[in-house]
Symmetry: C2
Subunit: 429 residues, 2 copies
Amino acid sequence: MKIIKKPASETWNKLCKRATINKDSLQGTVQNILNNVAQNKDAALKKYTELFDGVALNSLEVTNKEVIEAEGLVSGELKSAIQLAKTNIEIFHNSQKEVSKKISTIKGVTCWRKSVAIEKVGLYIPGGSAPLFSTILMLGIPAKIAGCKEIVLCTPTNKEGIVNPAILYTASLVGITKIFKVGGAQAIGAMAYGTETIPQVYKILGPGNQFVTKAKELVQQQGVAIDMPAGPSEVLVIADETSNPVFVAADLLSQAEHGADSQAILVTTSNKVAQNVIVELNNQIEELSRKEIAKKAIENSFVVVLTSKDECIEFSNKYAPEHLIIASDKASEYIEGVINAGSVFLGNYSCESAGDYASGTNHTLPTNGYAKNYSGVSLDSFVKKITFQEVTKEGIENLGGAIELMAAAEGLQAHKNAITVRLKEISNV
Amino acid sequence: MKIIKKPASETWNKLCKRATINKDSLQGTVQNILNNVAQNKDAALKKYTELFDGVALNSLEVTNKEVIEAEGLVSGELKSAIQLAKTNIEIFHNSQKEVSKKISTIKGVTCWRKSVAIEKVGLYIPGGSAPLFSTILMLGIPAKIAGCKEIVLCTPTNKEGIVNPAILYTASLVGITKIFKVGGAQAIGAMAYGTETIPQVYKILGPGNQFVTKAKELVQQQGVAIDMPAGPSEVLVIADETSNPVFVAADLLSQAEHGADSQAILVTTSNKVAQNVIVELNNQIEELSRKEIAKKAIENSFVVVLTSKDECIEFSNKYAPEHLIIASDKASEYIEGVINAGSVFLGNYSCESAGDYASGTNHTLPTNGYAKNYSGVSLDSFVKKITFQEVTKEGIENLGGAIELMAAAEGLQAHKNAITVRLKEISNV
C-alpha cells in the first residue's frame, strides 16, 4: 500500500477521483435484454437464465416448499445471529418514522406532510460469489416498516437452480413471500415492466454487478425509481495515535475483500501509524480466503499522511467515502466536521462489519463520491412524503391578495382567477 | 371536456396513462450541447445563448447593479406579496428539520442520523412565457434553511439580455447571489460540469422544457443528482355535491393554462356536478388570456363519473396526480385513502393556486404518475442523512458473535476478522 506524504492540496482532487468505469459499452447489451424482457416476459427470463446462468428453470417462483426446506439447512446459530441483526435494524429503522406535524403558516392555512409507503417495491439480491442475505435485512425490514404492500425479491440461483438457503430463510423471516429465481439485467427488466409471473414495481433497490447497475440506470429513465447510482464499495479510515493498527488493518481489508475495484484509504497525521498499519495489513492479507481480490484492491488503495486533524477531515469530505471510520479515542471531536460520507463509524470498536451486519444502521450506502449528494437507504427510501393543506375562508382572505398579485406577475391569469372567484363568493355572503 | 360515465375498471389504466413524450429524438442534440459545454465552457454557453435565445452576452453573471436596478422595477405591492409567501414557505420548510435522535439498538451500540446540507446546488428557473419567480422561493428557501453553502441560479434573459426583475428581486430576497444568464440544456451542462464563470454543483433542481429535462436526465447518469423526473403538470379534482362548480372550473383551468400538454381531470359520483362544472368551465375559459393553451389542454382532459367515493379515490390513486384537490366539505374523510399524490388540497377553499404561491407547501411536485414513487421537493431534497454509530467494547461483545457467523456465511472472512481481532483484544485485557 503506497504512502503519499503531505500531498499538495491541488493534487487532492486527483487522489479522490475514482477509477472511471465505462458503462457505455454495456448500454446496447443491457438495453436489448430489457427490450426483450418487456416484450417476451417470462420466456425471455428463462432464455437469459439458461444463457447466462446455465440453468433451465421450469418455474421462476420460489415455492413455499423450497422455503421450508431452506429453513432446515440453515444452522440454529446462524438463524439466531440473523434474528439479532433483524431486531437491531428494526429498532433503528422504526426510529426513522416521521410523525405528521400540522403547521399553521398563517391564520386559516394548515399544512402538513404524511409519509405513505410506495405500494410496490422490488429488491435485487445478488447471489454470485457472496450470497448477500444481509442485504435482505437492509432492504426488506424498512420496506416492511414503511408498509409497502407488494415486496418482490429477485435473486439468481446456483447451477442447480437452487437459491442459497440463508437468502430464503432471511426473506421468509422478514416476511417477503414473492421470491423469484432470476438475476442480472433481466431481473431488473422483469420488475420494471412486470411479466406473467413477476409483478411490476415502482421502485427497485439493491446492489448488483455492472449489468444490473446499467439496467437500473436505464429503467430509471423510464420512470422507475431506484435507490441510488452505484459504484465499487470503499472505506476511508482516519486514524491517530490512539488507534489500534491491528484493527485498522482488519477494517481496510474487510473493505478490500469486496472486490478488486474496492478502495480502502487510510488518512493519518502520523507516519508511525501509517507504517504500523501497513505492516499489519501485509501480515493479515496473507491469511485471507479472498486474498487475491484483496490484493488487487489494495493496489488501487493508498495511505495519505497529512499535517493536521482538520486536513484529515477535509480530505475525507473531498473523497466523500461510503464508509468513514474514525479510529480514535477522540472520534467525537470529528463529528461536526463530517460533511460528505455515507455512514460514519466512531472510535476503535466501531468497525464497518458492525454496520454491515448487525448494529442497526443500513449498509446500502452511496459509493463513488455520491455521498456528496445522496443518502444511504433508510425508511425514507420506501415512502413518499405527500403534502396536505387545508385553507379556510379566513385563509383565502389572508393569502388571496398576495396570490392574485404573484399569479398576475407570472402571467398566469387563471391561477389568479381561482382566488378571485373565491374572494368574490366570500364577500357576497 | 368529455365525460366518461362509469368506465369499466379494466379501462382505468388506459385513462390514467399520460401521453408519451418521445424524448429519444432530443438525446443526440442535448448530448452534443452538454459535451460542448463540458469542453468549451463559457464560450459554448455564449454561443448557444446567441444561437437559441438571440442574445449576445458579454458577461454571464448578473451584476449587483442589475439586482439593485431590478428591485426598483418591482412594485411595492408585489414585493409585499412575495415576502408574505416567503414567510409561509419558511415556516413550513423549517418545520421539516429533522432532530437527530440517538438510538441504542443493543447495549453498547448507539446509532443516529444527521441531516447535512448538500454543499453545492444549482437551481434552474425558466424565463420563457412565464417568469417563474415563485419557483425561486420554492427551491431557494429550503436550500437556505438546509444550509447549502453554494447556491447557483441559472435563468435565461429576454432578447435584450435582461433577466425579469421579479426573478432578480426574489433571488436577492432569498439570499441567492450567484445568478447567471443562461437557459436551456446549456445551463444544466454549466452547473453539472462547471465553467470559468459558473460553479459546478452536486444537485440540480427546477423545472424546464424538454431540452432542460433531457439534459437533467443525462447529467444524472454522470452522478449529478436531480430533483425528480419531469413531465407535464396536472391536477385531479374529486368533487361532490358540496363543491362549488365555479371554483372547480377555475381550478381545472388554472392547471390547463400551464401548457397545451397539461391535464385537468375531474372525478365525481354526480352527473349534475359534472355538467355544472363543464358549463362553468366553458364560460370561464373564454375570458382567459392564455385561452388557446387552456383549450388545447382541456381537449386532452376529461371528466370521469364513478359510482362511489371509494371508487373516486381509487381512480385518483391509479392516476397518481401531481395535484389532488378534494372539493368537498367532507374532504377530511378522504385523507386516509390517499396513497399516490404529490400535494393534496382539502376542501372548497384550498385551491391549487394557494399551494403554487403562498400557503407554505412546495410546488415542485412529481408529475406524470411519478407520485407513485417520488416525493415533491422539501427540505429533504437539500440534505443528505448521514448515519453515525458508536460501538463500545460491550457493544462488540454483544454483537460480535452474530457478525462473525453472518460474515462467514456470506464468505467474507475479512469482515469476520475485523470482529475477531477486537474480541481477542478485549478478552486479553
